[in-house]
Structure formats: structure tokens, C-alpha cells
């Protein structure tokens, strides 16, 4: 392989411009609630036919990477995650921004996203065949255990009451069952409504749970005259509004774990970054550093999920590029884009288009660095969102969210779902039911059910199938260890709280 040719092919003015354009589009689309990288790629794909394949594909992959980071911006600033994976970022990102440190929160997300993205891009560049082969060893039983792994996080995101967390997760799983059952083909909870046969879109529910619900709350706060902090409060908080080198050192281990976990899980088709980000968040939460309070603006609570989330991005392209299996909707769209540009994904891609493919893969590494630079430049602009008057921001966000809700699938039904979920979430909040387990249940519940039933079909109804496969056994051991760690971590936190409350 001629690396000189790859580098000279990559570092052209045209490529650099298109990576930058793609990254900017991706960040903006990711930052608008309801829109996502997939929509951006679909919209801009036709424009790429006028440019050469490598530049076009670099631009499209950059849109994807940018959108993943963009999703965390709204999660941090307005408590509305742009992607499912960014819901974990919201847990500590939003409280830190509310404390008056949006810059520090966004910086933490940007650094972690770049870190995770770089690990992921290098994994794609160096270990694509090996990770592809590992991904192929995942069957339905392994997927089921992996989904259980993700669901085990419910306990640590349940807030004050685990029972309420379980109820909330149950509501999420229940919402995920609506529509045609993908295993048997029978309709569930459709109430004769044809639109419900397709199921409820996760993004529409998420916009309801987070955006609509928050906007109703903000209207109430606005009416009561509680429109946020005073200028003095903000000035005081802004003094520490920087992501420092100490923060980076504190977060380094967490980011390394998150990125690696993200890259490995991301390489498995159909998993996505959500499982990885919640798992890493859980691990960080169970090993708190002195003075660190998760759920109240801990910086590691932002870097953990963000590194994992972005760690999964480039890695999620591995099964697509090496095996021709798109692991997600975005990967499927990108696979189409590769095909349209003459690079048919699959085992022969690396042999037939070596230079072009490696130019794109090295370009993925470069894209992460450009993401960092663009994030840095755009940061002051994003932070200005927090300076918009409270009432005006509420009204503008409502308009943006309703537009985004419509854009999910170009259908008005999603806007209806979004509004209804927002009203439901308002009443559930009166009962202190947490929202995050609900989203977790909605994301992972259907996956767990689908693979459980598939696994049992493969094993002719024999549950021993889960105990006969090495990866399954390894994951089950890890799951048990994780649960033990969780209970120990909780005990530790309780002890610390007790020590703080009685210093004598």
C-alpha cells in the first residue's frame, strides 16, 4: 500500500473544504432536536454527485461524525438530546450548564467526543478486519445479553427511587412494543390506528419526553416570573467556566475506557452508541472521585458517555465496509452513498479500491481533528443560546422542536406523538417518575425482546443456549460483576454522604 499516495490524495484543498462543510452541516443537523445525521446525509447526497468520490464520501462521513457531537450540544444547553446516546450526556451536562458553566460542559463534551472519535477512527483504520470478524461472532443470544447489559444501567439512573425507575423503564419498554411485532407479525397496542402499525418513532417519543415536557414547564416558570439566574449568579459561576488541564487529567481514564468500549460495541451491527455511553456513565458513576457528585454536573459524567458515544461512530462503519452489513440507519445510507460513488461495500472493497478506501479512513481521523477545531470556533456561538431571554428561548425552541418532530419521517403523526408524550411526561413528573429510564427502556427494550425471542427460536425454546456460548458466558459474568460494582458504588456513595453530613 502506498501511504504517500494516500496522504497526497487526502490533503487536497478540495477534500479539506468538503470535510469542513460536512462537519459544519453535521453539527448543525445534530444540534437541532429531531434532525439527525441520517437526514443530513440523505439531503446532501444528491449534491455530492458533482464532486469526486473521495471528497464526497469524506464530506458525508464528516456529516455523520459532526451530527453525533451536535446531539450533545442541545442535551447540555436545553436538556433536549439530539440522539438517543446523548441522553446519558444530559444527566450531568445539563446540570453543569444550569450552574452557569455551559462552556465547561460543552468543552468537556467536545474533548471527549474528539478523543472517542480518534480512538474509533484508528480502530477503523487499523483493526477493521479483526473487529469485523469479532462482530460476526455475535448472534441473537449475545445481542440479548448485550441489551441486558445496557438495561442494567436503569438502577443507576433511577434517581431517588429504584421502584419508580423500574416503572419508568417499563413504560419505555411498553412504548417500544407498539406496532407490528417484528418476530411474529401480530399487531400490538395499535387500537385500530394504521399509523401505529409502524410503531412509535424513538425520536418522537424522546422529543416529547424532553422537549415538549420542558417547554410546558418553562411556560409555567415564565408565568411565575422564575426566568432563571440573576446576572450576578451567572458572573460568579462563569469564573470556573473552563475545561481545565486538571479536568482533562481527571477524565483521561474514563475517556480511554469509554472510547475503547464504544469502538468495540460500535463495531457490532445494530448496537449503536447508546449502550456504550450508558455503560461507561455507569462505570464512572460507580467509581466517583472525591467531591464528585454525579447527576449534579460532574465533568466525568459528560466525558464518559460522550467518549463512548463518539467511540462508536467510526467503528460502526466497520461491519458496513468489511462485510457489507449496515449496522444502523446511518450506516445503511452511507452504504448506499458508497455504492453510488462506485465503492461497493463488502469483503472485496479493501482489495479493489485500496487507495480510495484508505484515503477515506485516514480522512476519518482528520475529520475528528476538524470537528475539534470547528467545535472550538462554534462554541461561543452555541453558548450564546443560554444568554437568550428565557421566554423567547422557550417559544423559539417550541417552533424548532415542532419542525424537527415533523422532519423525523416527514409525517405529522410524529408531531402528534411528540405532543402527547410531552403531556404524559408532565403528569409522570408529578409522580416523580424519572424520564431517562423511560428512554433507556424505549431504546433497549425492543432490542432485548427481539433477540431473546430469536435466540429461543434458534435454541428450540431451550434457555441453555445462553450458557453454551463463550461470548454470552463472558458477558453474563461481566453483567454480574457490574451489578456487584453498582451496589458497592452505592454503598460507598451513601457512606461518603453520611461522612459529609456528620463531619465530627
Amino acid at each position: 500500500m502506498d501511504w504517500a499516495e494516500i496522504f497526497s490524495g487526502l490533503f487536497t484543498i478540495q477534500n479539506l473544504i468538503f470535510i469542513n462543510i460536512g462537519m459544519f452541516i453535521g453539527i448543525i443537523f445534530g444540534a437541532v432536536p429531531g434532525m439527525n445525521g441520517n437526514l443530513a446525509i440523505t439531503v446532501f447526497l444528491p449534491f455530492t454527485f458533482q464532486i469526486n468520490s473521495v471528497s464526497a464520501l469524506l464530506m458525508l462521513t464528516s456529516i455523520y461524525f459532526g451530527s453525533m457531537f451536535g446531539g450533545s450540544i442541545t442535551a447540555i444547553l436545553i436538556k433536549t438530546p439530539g440522539t438517543g446516546a446523548a441522553t446519558a450526556t444530559l444527566l450531568d451536562g445539563a446540570p453543569l450548564a444550569e450552574k452557569g458553566q455551559p462552556h465547561r460542559a460543552l468543552d468537556a463534551a467536545l474533548v471527549a467526543s474528539t478523543f472517542g472519535g480518534l480512538v474509533s477512527a484508528f480502530a477503523l483504520l487499523l483493526f477493521a478486519p479483526q473487529l469485523g470478524a469479532l462482530a460476526m461472532r455475535f448472534g441473537s443470544p449475545e445481542y440479548f445479553i448485550l441489551a441486558l447489559f445496557g438495561l442494567s444501567v436503569i438502577a443507576s439512573v433511577s434517581g431517588k427511587s429504584k421502584l419508580k425507575g423500574l416503572i419508568a423503564a417499563g413504560i419505555g419498554v411498553l412504548l417500544g412494543t407498539v406496532g407490528i411485532d417484528s418476530v411474529s407479525g401480530v399487531p400490538r397496542f395499535t387500537f385500530g390506528n394504521m399509523m401505529l402499525y409502524n410503531g412509535l418513532k424513538m425520536m418522537a417519543c424522546m422529543l416529547g419526553f424532553f422537549a415538549t415536557f420542558r417547554m410546558i414547564q418553562r411556560v409555567k416558570r415564565g408565568a411565575a416570573g422564575k426566568t432563571g439566574k440573576t446576572a450576578e449568579d451567572l458572573k460568579k459561576a462563569a469564573e470556573g467556566d473552563k475545561f481545565t488541564l486538571t479536568d482533562f487529567k481527571n477524565c483521561f481514564g474514563t475517556m480511554a475506557t469509554g472510547s475503547t468500549l464504544g469502538a468495540v460495541i460500535g463495531a457490532i451491527p445494530g448496537t449503536g452508541g447508546a449502550i456504550a455511553s450508558y455503560l461507561t456513565y455507569n462505570m464512572a458513576k460507580n467509581n466517583p472521585k472525591p467531591g464528585e457528585e454525579f447527576g449534579k454536573g460532574a465533568v466525568r459524567g459528560i466525558t464518559a458517555p460522550e467518549s463512548a458515544n463518539n467511540g462508536a461512530t467510526a467503528a460502526s462503519l466497520i461491519p458496513m465496509l468489511t462485510l457489507g452489513i449496515p449496522g444502523s440507519a446511518v450506516a445503511a445510507t452511507l452504504m448506499g452513498a458508497f455504492q453510488m460513488h462506485g465503492l461497493a461495500s463488502g469483503p472485496k472493497l479493501f482489495e479493489e479500491h485500496t487507495i480510495a478506501v484508505y484515503t477515506i479512513l485516514v480522512g476519518c481521523v482528520l475529520a475528528q481533528l476538524i470537528m475539534f477545531l470547528q467545535g472550538k470556533y462554534l462554541m461561543p456561538l452555541f453558548v450564546k443560546i443560554t444568554r437568550i431571554p428565557f421566554r423567547l428561548l422557550t417559544a423559539c425552541l417550541l417552533v424548532v422542536c415542532f419542525s424537527g418532530g415533523y422532519a423525523i419521517a416527514n409525517r405529522s403523526f410524529d408531531v402528534k406523538v411528540m405532543v402527547i408524550m410531552g403531556i404524559v411526561a408532565y403528569f409522570l413528573n408529578l409522580l416523580d417518575l424519572p424520564t431517562v429510564p423511560m428512554v433507556l427502556g424505549l431504546i433497549l427494550g425492543p432490542t432485548a425482546e427481539f433477540y431473546l425471542r430469536n435466540a429461543l427460536s434458534i435454541g428450540n425454546g431451550n434457555w441453555m443456549i445462553f450458557f453454551q456460548r463463550p461470548i454470552c458466558i463472558a458477558f453474563m459474568i461481566l453483567l454480574v460483576l457490574l451489578l456487584v460494582m453498582l451496589s458497592r458504588g452505592e454503598k460507598k456513595q451513601k457512606q461518603r454522604k453520611a461522612e459529609v453530613s456528620s463531619p465530627s
Binding site: 411498553l174 401480530v186 400490538r188 409555567k220 417559544a395 417552533v399 415542532f402 415533523y406
Partner: protein, 156 residues
């Protein structure tokens, strides 16, 4: 008027009621597959969730009534009026936005401003301008079809 309620107790009762409703509607709303089932059917997870609701509901009631571990919350109905009015606005929006997206969406934004007692007219102008901008971006750039009788009549 202020309504006082115990959080765990109310949540527990609601969860048990939800479990009962689910058990009643699952046979009507979830069909049974005729193919091989291998122990887990399309009804298993819904029934499992109903069981989780019931168990957690009972647990919350025990916490509240037996262990006395509960928090009394207050719901000030007067303070809830703007939120309730916002619900009504949103529900009304669901009936009209399919026919007239820009006007109805701008109206929701302005209603949010009015309900949060905003008196600055500039805010209303910004919200209306934003809605129109979003409409044109969606229709002309993203090629997402949004219905508008007004813009349709104007030929825009």
C-alpha cells in the same frame, strides 16, 4: 387551591391501576401468533411489564404505608393554570397543523410567549419570523412538504 398528595402512595396506586388496565386490554390488543412460540410470545413482554408495574406499585405502597417512607407533595392548581392552558393550545395545534403549518406553529410559539406573560412585542415578531424561515428551509432546502393554505394561495 392546593392539592396535597403522597408521591410514593399515588405512584403505587397508579402503577397497580395501570397493571390492571394492561391485563384487561392485552388479550384484545395483542394477537397471539399461530407459529411456533418457544416459550416467549408477543404477549409475554406486555404481561411482564404489567407484572413489573404491579410489583413495583405494591412495593411503593408498602414503602408509603408500612415503612412510612414517603414525601408529601403539593400541587398548586393556580400555578398549574398556564401549563393546563398550554396543553389546550397544543391539543388544538394537533387539529390544525396538518392543514396550515406555519400559521399554527407561529400561533403556538406566540401562545407560549403570552402564557409566560411576555410583553415584549419584538419576541413575538422573532417567533413569527423564525417560523416562516423554518417553513421555507423545510420546503425549499430540505424538500420536506409542509402544508400551508396561506402560502399556497400566495403562490409561495
Amino acid at each position: 387551591m392546593i392539592i396535597k398528595y403522597r408521591s410514593n402512595l399515588t405512584c403505587g396506586i397508579t402503577a397497580i391501576l395501570a397493571a390492571a388496565v394492561m391485563c384487561a386490554i392485552i388479550p384484545q390488543q395483542v394477537g397471539l401468533e399461530t407459529t411456533a412460540r418457544f416459550g416467549v410470545t408477543s404477549r409475554t413482554i406486555p404481561y411482564g411489564i404489567a407484572a413489573v408495574f404491579a410489583i413495583c406499585g405494591v412495593g411503593l405502597m408498602i414503602q408509603s404505608l408500612v415503612l412510612k417512607k414517603d414525601e408529601t407533595k403539593e400541587l398548586n392548581l393556580k400555578a398549574e393554570v398556564p401549563a393546563l392552558l398550554m396543553f389546550l393550545v397544543l391539543i388544538a395545534y394537533l387539529f390544525v397543523f396538518e392543514k396550515e403549518w406555519p400559521l399554527s406553529t407561529a400561533a403556538v410559539g406566540c401562545a407560549a410567549l403570552a402564557l409566560s406573560k411576555s410583553k415584549k412585542w419584538l419576541y413575538y415578531v422573532i417567533v413569527i419570523a423564525l417560523t416562516i424561515a423554518m417553513y421555507f428551509i423545510f420546503v425549499n432546502v430540505l424538500h420536506i412538504r409542509l402544508n400551508s393554505l396561506v402560502f399556497g394561495l400566495l403562490g409561495l
